[in-house]
């Protein structure tokens, strides 16, 4: 590859060394169009949108950490009421964990299908993600309903208040993610693989995987460590 091929060209075909950016027209050159490399210019919109959404996810995780801190402090404050050991059912937690992990996997498969612009497979994997997420939310709300019916609602003790706050917050995030997933499937069907729809899909993927990361912290701190308390 000669040097002139690697450099951006003006519309007339003349070599234009001052053109900035790589997303329109000829773009950057060869293997050097990563951010900050050679003729690359500013980062592509995908990278910028992903970065912005990553900042949102990190701020969300910091909000969760406050709930986790409260729960860690109050985990033993059962006020004579039931402790985690009395309330948690390991089989239910294991099934919920499996649902979320497999839904994270199918979400990743939908991203692979979206990359090669396969409408059918993207929709199939997104649907699988949504069904697994729905199963998770239903199982969790069944657990919650059982606890409240047994007199172990959020008003019973500080431990249970913080438990319902942190686990319920995660459940709310999953529910919101399900709504978002539905709109993404509709957008994909109506608009096809437009660049902006693909960026939204990228953000949804980041969100869904981040929810699974929070669940890892959650089942470890709340359920497994809580089991021993």
């Amino acid at each position: 590859m000669s040097i002139t091929q690697a450099l951006p060209r003006a519309p007339g075909g003349n070599f234009d060394p001052y053109r900035v950016g790589r997303s329109s027209g000829g773009g950057g050159g060869g293997r050097y169009d990563a951010t900050g490399h050679g003729e690359g210019g500013p980062a592509s919109k995908d990278v910028i949108v992903g970065y912005g959404f990553w900042i949102f996810i990190l701020s969300d995780i910091i909000m969760f950490s406050a709930f986790f801190a409260a729960h860690a402090v109050l985990q033993t404050a059962t006020a004579g009421g039931p402790s985690g050991h009395d309330l948690f059912r390991p089989s239910s937690i294991a099934i919920e964990t499996a649902c979320l992990l497999v839904s994270s996997f199918t979400c990743g498969l939908s991203a692979v299908a979206a990359r090669v612009r396969s409408q059918v497979w993207t929709q199939i994997w997104l649907l699988a993600t949504g069904l697994l997420g729905l199963a998770f939310v239903l199982l969790e709300s069944r657990d919650f309903a059982g606890m409240v019916a047994a007199g172990a609602g959020p008003q019973r003790s500080a431990f249970l208040s913080s438990f319902f706050a942190v686990v319920g917050l995660h459940g709310l995030h999953v529910s919101a993610g399900l709504l978002w997933l539905g709109t993404m499937m509709a957008q994909l069907l109506a608009k096809g693989f437009r660049p902006n729809v693909q960026r939204r899909l990228l953000c949804f993927n980041l969100f869904w995987h981040a929810l699974d990361i929070i669940w890892v912290a959650l089942f470890t701190i709340v359920y497994l460590i809580g089991e021993g308390r």
Partner: protein
């Protein structure tokens, strides 16, 4: 055109962001498969540590912490595609800052509340003083 120029550099750009169209489907699925298998193994390990009594009791929380951090690392690398590629530098730095804040928040809360607990009178003495 831009699709073509992106095609030649799968080694230099963060996967999942740009440069992806040439990445084969099998390769993409393979990464998620590795991730889900590793994550499942770590999850099973976490649950078995608690429910099988294989590990000495007081060591269980430490073991669980190690397994959770390992699984979060697996999720970050294989699902969120956090790599050392130049396009990912900002993401990694933001994550490092997030981890710092989370550590300060949780660690600080536990530290302060534990200190308060130790300095507080036992409950029955409090009750007697109130009489």
């Amino acid at each position: 055109m831009s699709g073509q120029t992106h095609g030649s550099n799968t080694d230099d750009v963060a996967p999942g962001f740009t440069g992806a169209p040439t990445e084969s489907v099998a390769h993409g699925i393979g990464i998620y498969l590795i991730g889900v298998v590793l994550a499942a193994l770590l999850t099973v390990a976490s649950f078995s540590v608690v429910y099988t009594h294989l590990i000495w009791g007081p060591a269980i929380p430490v073991m669980l912490g190690v397994l959770a951090v390992a699984q979060i690392g697996v999720h970050l690398v294989f699902f969120l595609h956090l790599t050392t590629a130049p396009d990912n530098t900002n993401n990694v730095l933001a994550l490092a800052f997030g981890v710092l804040i989370v550590a300060l928040l949780i660690g600080g809360s536990l530290w302060i509340m534990d200190n308060l607990n130790q300095n507080m009178l036992p409950m029955y003495q409090m009750m007697q003083m109130q009489r």
